[in-house]
Assembly symmetry: D2
Homo-oligomer: 320 residues x 4
């Protein structure tokens, strides 16, 4: 019978990661497992930086952002020699299974470890919502609320001055924070890799028409890495009648108190990971799909296409 389970957070941190760790630890201990936390992601496996914890471990962090067991990136974990050290260290401690909370990159490490004899389950922890095997990733709901509240605040001041705001939003390769926020804030424009700014002159024309129609604020959302927002700010100031101001939301999007749903999904997934490992299931990742928990083989998961949420752009077109 499985006795010792490790848990780590990997890649970018996300609000709700603590709740996932708490859910896993409590569920594990309720099922008579010894639960180990591993610090600094995969690095902690290499450096043997892990410890056995009791059921109250970080339970006062349920409502806190970040990850109390730290995270780090370790590109070398792609190399088998490095992973062998991890496996050796775990085996020495008797840790037979591992829960990995993180993004796509972290999943691959989890799969490889499984193949080397440590059953692993991956959990989707990232604000970017860029994991196709889950409708929502842990951290996304909180980050989305941070983004939306920030845009609400920006709207206050832009409206007072009849200005245009460009807001640059995180998302790396997945623009969901931007596309979801476009509906939640009734933004005037939304530009992402799935819905790019193809025709600047058409944008200028829409802006001028809005000005003529008495619009007192113009909100443009842009996903990061799509275009040079500083340049766009200059152009709009130069070529339209809208005084324009850029805000790059930055790292506030990564922190903050997890929302209620974030915590619930996080706890659920943490407990479910323990349940799967207890049944001997590994090499899989957990997702919330169609409002239910499910698990998928990690290789299959990584092949799933990203949902572009075309419906959101269509809806935005309709209501803007």
């Amino acid at each position: 019978m499985l006795k010792k389970i490790g848990i780590l957070t990997s890649g970018g941190d996300a609000p709700g990661m603590n709740a996932t760790v708490i859910g896993a630890i409590k569920a594990g201990i309720a099922l008579n497992k010894d639960m180990y936390v591993v610090y600094d992601g995969y690095k902690g496996l290499i450096e043997k930086n892990f410890k056995k914890v009791d059921k109250h471990f970080i339970e006062d962090k349920l409502a806190s952002g970040g990850t109390a067991i730290k995270t780090a990136r370790l590109p070398e974990f792609k190399e088998e020699e490095v992973r062998k050290v991890a496996v050796k260290n775990m085996k020495e401690e008797g840790i037979e299974a591992l829960i990995v909370i993180g993004g796509d990159g972290s999943y691959m490490g989890a799969k490889r470890l499984t193949e080397m004899g440590i059953n692993c389950v991956g959990l989707p922890g990232t604000i970017d919502n860029d994991i196709a095997s889950s409708d929502y990733t842990i951290g996304f709901d909180t980050a989305l609320n941070t983004v939306v509240n920030a845009i609400d605040q920006i709207r206050d001041t832009m409206t007072s001055h009849n200005r245009c705001a460009i807001v640059e939003i995180m998302g790396n390769k997945c623009p969901d924070l931007t596309s979801f926020a476009s509906i939640a804030t009734n933004a005037d424009e939304v530009f992402t890799c799935d819905h790019p700014l193809d025709d600047k002159n058409a944008l200028f024309d829409r802006m001028e028409e809005a000005k003529r129609n008495g619009k007192d604020c113009y909100i443009i959302l842009v996903a990061e890495k799509l275009l040079d927002t500083k340049e766009l700010e200059k152009e709009l100031n130069a070529k339209t009648s809208w005084e324009t101001r850029l805000t790059i939301l930055g790292h506030i999007q990564r922190g903050g108190k997890p929302t209620a749903m974030e915590r619930i999904n996080a706890v659920k997934m943490g407990a479910y990971a323990v349940e799967l490992l207890d049944k001997g299931i590994g090499g899989v990742c957990i997702g919330i799909h169609e409002n239910k928990l499910r698990y998928v083989d990690i290789y299959d998961a990584l092949k799933l296409p990203r949902d572009e949420h075309k419906d959101l752009y269509q809806l935005h077109e309709l209501i803007k």
Copy 2:
């Protein structure tokens, strides 16, 4: 072709109702409909208290709680004679279809109106999450966050004094706010109609054991209408070693800025209602089921069993 659509909010108000109204109005006008808002729920139909609006109507209320077009209860609407007045008034104005945002009670009126020649679509707007045809109702996510944040605050003070808190949570006939909050706050106990307090002595015992184990705070969530929380407060003070304090969360649960997801689901559903009516579909209600929009005949919807979320009580048992 359908030309004029009315929209009203009915029953208890809920955060996100304004977003639904905005979504419907904007979508309707984009589809060349004349959009009418009806004030005070069904009462506005009887009193002919409605008006045609433009696409900017209440768009500055997207992030505001409550319903800007007001709501009211009108039990008399069950009587056919009363509804006939409503139909007559709408027909005089040329309003051929109606969107009704509210709870179960409001749905029945929408069905009856459909049978009398006014195509109606119902949308689930209530903080209670008590509409089985939708996984989540508009208002629930916001109210849940209000509840969870309130419990977080209560935990601060209870922990400082090593006290026990009883928190009474709204929900009328559906205890979802309570059961969901039990996971999001790591509450010690949760009592609802689906998971009642059967054995008080066992509760006292658990509380004493927790005290012996050094627990510095004990949080008990109780759904409204289940038991006399004032009485329970007295008993716990008398029969356990826990100094106990009751908080009845009350009407703060009904208000507040809608969350990001609330607004998105609300706008989606509002626009979808227009789309259905435009296709001639009526007598149905809209839900979000398995993370997708769907519609169901209202009679069928009202027969669907309520989801008791047994998984949440099991999860709570596991992790508490």
Copy 3:
């Protein structure tokens, strides 16, 4: 030279208490003192429940409500025999001075200890703002924001239904939370010990006139312990045309993340307490008066009259 300083929190907890403790500890250690935290208020002195801490002690709680070193009430501390045990315990450890964060009751204990050879400085920590020697107590600003945000939420739902809300607000013997909130929320009525509800019929008349004038919401703030708010709810429902709903805000008012100003004032006062003790000053309490730090002999402080803030009632009368 003073070497060892203790710090405790006493009476009701308040947001910002942790920031005060942090400010005192960091300032003390910067000045080469050994800093001791005492758990559970004066009880910790009796039970010798204290420990020396380093400069990072609870620094991650700066933004957290409650008090991480716990608080308790100890009425027996009025007795000299009890205090003698406290003095003996401190002397055994070499603790020569003590910072006491709490309310009026706690100040008296601090004065008595000073007379028994342990120099003490009192800091005003209470949400009630009931300490006349300080314009603002630690916790008041946060609690006021909690109250005001709660009333904002209540207004959302009351306006949607054209209802009247009675909101009962904490404050024990000082109604500042209520009187300040009356301005911040534009409440229609405010009743406190300084501004009681003398004439119910006049209230009914004002409410009916407001209804006739088309007012869509009526907000009545009542300080706790002034009158039976449940009874008032019944009366207003019976004798006016306003459907009325009562909310007793309760313990949410005691918790929550301290505001920016709360934390700043708290850190300032904590550091100032160390500075005074280092100069050999004791038996005093610290306040923020006319926007500056000051200290006052505790006996003198306890004789200062409470500010009734008559200007706020006059302002309320003018603008309501």
Copy 4:
């Protein structure tokens, strides 16, 4: 007797401006004045864009950021010819007095108008706290909380990765947002015009020492316009062992729901302005000084030295 009073907001918008307008309007109408709002700051005087309002005007915006009567900058208002148009327009409408909410620049216009026969009172409305005649300006408390909450969120993610954060904070010529936030967030470094970064090597050394001591996060606050924060980010990444990330908070600092104290001070000042004008007092500006309302001649006010808050830097030095 004074009969008609105008009110406008000028310069940068700030949370609480709406509350000031509401306070002035309600107080004015209670004193039997006709109250006029002027749109777009001084521009509205030139364009005769003003209107008489009733006592309920924007009362639902008490808790909203921005300014509902808009603001604008009008550098030409320095020219007497331009101001003459304003005076003429006001006189034609019978407006004899004016309340101007804004910053230093706006005050000078108010003084000039007074000299031309329109009694004016200036109110300090700006998030920057850069008006020496008032201890706190309207908007500062809200902006400070926005800044502090943002830094709390940034700390979450930086701690999870053991990173350094540079946070650039607004303030134009007054660094109070930055210096106050340094205490409220326990930042590691604070750099402003009053407390510049003189010695980069010393900074690097402090950072390396902190790293050696096990510090898991390093927060550096920088007031805007002091130094090139992008450049600093690069240098810290290159020359220290801290992975460093820059966030420029930007326009979120200007918006948002005003805090309780903001609203109270705003309403107080608005009402006080009416009172002064009613007594025939003009050419002055209002401040909150030593926790009391006062007024000062505008010329004198503009000569007052800015408070550098040296105590805060000393306190920061002590506790960091």
